[in-house]
Symmetry: C2
Amino acid sequence: MSADTRSKGNENAGADEAGGKSSLQRGLAILRLLASSNETGARLTDISRALDLTPPTVHRLLKILVEEGMAEADKATKRYRLGIDLFGLAAQAGNPNNLRDICRPILLRLSATLRDTIFLLVRSGFDAVCLDRSEGPFPIRSFTGDIGGRVTLGVGQGSLAIMAFLHEEEREEVIRFNLPRMQGVGIIDEVYLRTEIARVRDLGYASRSTGLLPGMSGVAVPVLDRDGHAVAALSVGTISERLNEERLPVVVDILKRESAAISRQLNPFDPVLRRPAAILGGGPA
Amino acid sequence: MSADTRSKGNENAGADEAGGKSSLQRGLAILRLLASSNETGARLTDISRALDLTPPTVHRLLKILVEEGMAEADKATKRYRLGIDLFGLAAQAGNPNNLRDICRPILLRLSATLRDTIFLLVRSGFDAVCLDRSEGPFPIRSFTGDIGGRVTLGVGQGSLAIMAFLHEEEREEVIRFNLPRMQGVGIIDEVYLRTEIARVRDLGYASRSTGLLPGMSGVAVPVLDRDGHAVAALSVGTISERLNEERLPVVVDILKRESAAISRQLNPFDPVLRRPAAILGGGPA
DNA sequence: GCAAAAGCTTCCGATATACGGAATAGATGG
DNA sequence: CCATCTATTCCGTATATCGGAAGCTTTTGC
């Protein structure tokens, strides 16, 4: 197992077939396919062809999925889509230590205070995933970070904030894996990336025009565990004008304060945070 | 299906066992179990006992689930929880016709305008499910309706709004099924329920102190399809004082207007409108 | 610190379970 | 109406799944 993602399972050829051969894997493959075609839904034969499974097999699996509430059949159009039960499941998913629950009120407060949209990102393998977000009243919305959306770790400020505060070895692993993936999404130069990371680590926050969208900027701070490693990031996305030299320090300060509050709630036992103020700057009591 | 062939002597009626016998069913059962114990996570043997599966079986299924990103193993605590990929899946789930996407900006507008929390509910079987919500700035939050949460159809204003605008036969079916479930959650009297439904149908909105929480009230309007049947409900939850005789009609009026706007977008039958206006979204994942 | 208990993982043979070809029924469309 | 495509059912085959047993690791208790 070791390294935590899909680096190994590569033995079976086939572009996008049903991953393995267990029926559980096939069922999950169907769910993923349905997710990717949720606009229109997918018919049985579509699935059959896409996953290279025979119609009877797909039929049987779909029947189970429907019974279990993970899929729904639109009898009118004969199309299948994901079921709402799945939605309920996921409400609990990716919520280690109730991170999302803890952060929810903070996101609300931040979006109200800063008037921009606030994102909560966590690491998932070599990506960052948007766990939650809270829209601010400011009328221009960032395109990034629909809930559940993924970004390559290292792309975007929230990503960088997480990356800068990973374990040394993990960060190296991520850099190695992600550099090729980052072609054309901004950073392609390893040296530059490392410089950025060092800078973020130094400052305790990430803030640069990502280049993803002209005119848009972001600021992000990591949410640290008791060892000073990132478990998440708080990020603000807005138009560049709203993150000028005057306002930026203010925003950063507020973010850091809230991040520290989250850290404290994440570690209810902590006698003393081990590496607190040094990294996050002026730590409020 | 059904027909319990319980070859094993194990007759002990263990409350909540793994649903069926297919490995897909068992895998999903594990996911559900993890969802219900996401606070702490579950260990392999916990799952094994709860679902009446042998440890090797659970081990194998968990391994698959982890590989597929549907579960995560916390190596430190030896506990399993739901994986973030599941979270990403569900971002697409329960989103027929992109209902959630369509409603998102409207929820935001409503919560800003009305200053209270707005809920989007859809029907799922005999329940209503909270598809989305948008918090308003008003400091008292309703406990109801975490995203993904379920309520018995008929309990609460949003529920009622949906129920009042179902097909005749469907409504009867729901009433029949749900009446027993509603014991102790407010309405227990069939006559009263039917009266309420008729009233809601008449007025075009639902508004009563639900009795679920003293001092809290709600208003809800249905979102109708072209046939005048409910596909969803928009609901406002707040303290009773904020829904007095003066304000209520205003709120209802605004809700109805937005509901109508949604309905219009839901029926892009005009082949011209097929394109869902990729304003800022549509980004790659 | 050691022994005991509980938990996790691997192995492997028996068999239940899932598979897919073929045939049927239903839908679509010319 | 027939031709084509799709969904569903049936059933014999074989394969993937199961669980006992045993090795191994971690936790518990003394």
